[in-house]
Symmetry: C2
DNA sequence: TCATAAATTGTTATCGGTAACAAACAAAAG
DNA sequence: CTTTTGTTTGTTACCGATAACAATTTATGA
């Protein structure tokens, strides 16, 4: 492995001078600089980041903790993060919690041992506050992504779950639906709470009753057809006047599970029942726009989130909290139909 | 930041003893070990990976270079990689080249400066061989993923593009299609070459003629509706007896672009024209299985690829080359129709 | 009981950079 | 042609961990 010492010897200068050239210090004689740069090129030297970080106390590495990169919503976020990070000279360590707080703890350990400069994280639940504390104790900046957690003081980038839900539910009501069931995410996730609030308040604002039976929960995860089917069976077995004519799915995965289950139960969307959800269902949207959704600007979430994080990292003391709430965009498509 | 020196002082031993406890060395008195472990827990010590890597010459970090994490095919690969890597105690640095070899060079630099132990890479083109050389010069192991490159000697995990193409084309022929157009990926990517070969040979084996006009190229990238539309316009303007009744799209993105363009041109799939492609189109498949595809075990690609890489990393000298070729699975669905 | 082997712990140097200070050299001023 | 100041380069110590060796303690056997 070639080091500054090799370069130094090759260029007949001291290692320190090499270091100065690498870091574009002032006060280097032009001829010396050229000599060193030639040596660097000829020997193919690339600085050792580990050694650097040891003195500089920064690794130029950031952690990105998501629930599942396989969800297009998160892969887009990851993409946004990656692009901005690289642009600003940072590397990105990535990991998937699967909404599992034990995994989350392990990944936080990993991030701490890597001494990342900051972590951008989609917390699994309110319990994640402990992990935030731990990171901060290790002097690692934290920005939350997609969700907040109780008691968190700091920067975050989230979508407006309340607003999006309100708009979707209102859309259903405008389409003549009165019996709207909510299949929500886990109540210990802030987005689920906000979506529940949006759902309940919008119903109330429209003078509609909320049946206890209309509320159920699934994980925000992939492939839960089994549980989804049970929920739907239960919903569909309600008396005719209480049987839901529309379903609000709290995210894209839940919506896909729901529609699959509905089909298996012999119902078709939107003819028999309408479905709306949060987050775009890709790449279906490019190919055959079907889902009525509250689309969130996922790439933008990533870009903004990592930007905030980098700002925090680069000016530690930094001032006021940056809490960005990006509004969703409602797309009315084929999964909802007017009740006649 | 708490270091072994802090632990040492707190536990009244030498730093070296602390190091020994951390690394589970033998010959530590039980009482000493407990004392140190208690100190570690109480002070919340986590080893500094950078410092470690300086002496050990390994970072326990691996690089994953993909073309675009936004493509579900690659996000699944990334997921497989991540899972196995973490399981084996490695971190993963991730990056997206967008099939751009300049970006690729930058990311390779990044990986070298991070002194990753190995890189798992989807090469952008045959030119990537230079980058492989560079990595190796820096003593970094390389495993190729999804594609090979000319002149490469080493491990790789790829799909059987030839076989998959053959089966898809044969399926089209069995369905009565004689005029099958190929919209391929870039010829400097091995999968595209193999798919072209599979296409041409299967046609020949069936005594079908190949029209020059049937061959065209797109990037393996997202959102190329413009170019796709041009290609399709040209194809559809051929005389009736030469006008394709089926299209072989070299990957999922190309297929989606093609179908979108076809629709804009007033044609529907499969009624007017059949379409097949490589790689699953998710999550459509869960929701409404539509595409006839050669599905590749993406997660498995990732898992196997990173496993090979880790093996190489952990026993440098290692023996014979591991060249894994995983067969695709053909799913015949609704995007193809029998010609009557 | 004392020498010797085995187990346990400590010291020093090092990995590849850089900060802080010191030295050498060149240019400007008297 | 000195002196002074400013430029440029070099030395030393350190970041946090560990390998290699040294020292100390404990156990074993004659």
């Amino acid at each position: 492995m070639v080091t500054i010492y090799d370069i130094a010897k090759y260029a007949n200068v001291s290692p320190m001078t090499v270091s100065r050239v690498i870091n574009n210090s002032i006060n280097i004689k032009a001829t010396t600089r050229e000599k060193v740069e030639r040596a660097i090129k000829e020997l193919g030297y690339i600085p050792n980041a580990a050694a650097r970080s040891l003195t500089s106390n920064q690794t130029k590495t950031l952690g990105l903790i998501l629930t599942d990169i396989t969800n297009p919503y998160f892969s887009k976020i990851a993409r946004g993060v990656e692009d901005v990070a690289v642009e600003k000279g940072y590397r990105v360590l990535i990991s998937n919690t699967d909404e599992d707080s034990d995994k989350e703890v392990n990944y936080i350990d990993m991030m701490i041992s890597a001494r990342v400069d900051g972590v951008l994280i989609t917390p699994t639940s309110d319990k994640t506050i402990d992990q935030v504390e731990r990171l901060r104790k290790h002097n690692i900046q934290v920005v939350l992504l997609d969700r907040t957690i109780e008691g968190f003081e700091g920067d975050y980038v989230i979508g407006d779950s309340y607003l999006g839900t309100q708009q979707l539910v209102q859309h259903l009501i405008d389409y003549g639906h009165q019996n709207i069931a909510l299949i929500n995410g886990p109540a210990n996730v802030s987005t689920a709470r906000e979506r529940a609030r949006g759902y309940l308040e919008t119903l109330k604002q429209n003078g509609l009753e909320v049946y206890e039976h209309y509320l159920s929960e699934l994980d925000y995860k992939h492939a839960q057809e089994g549980k989804a089917k049970e929920i739907l069976k239960r919903l569909l077995s309600l008396e005719a006047d209480k049987c839901p004519t529309a379903i609000f799915a709290a995210n894209n995965f839940i919506a896909v599970s729901a529609i699959r289950s509905l089909r298996e139960l012999g119902l078709s969307v939107p003819d028999d029942i309408s479905v709306v959800c949060f987050d775009e269902v890709e790449p279906i949207v490019y190919f055959d726009p079907f889902f009525t959704v509250a689309a969130q600007p996922a790439i933008e979430f990533g870009r903004v989130g990592i930007q905030l994080l980098i700002e925090r990292v680069e000016e530690k003391e930094a001032g006021i909290r940056q809490q960005v709430i990006l509004p969703p965009v409602i797309h009315i498509r084929k999964s909802t139909m007017k009740r006649s």
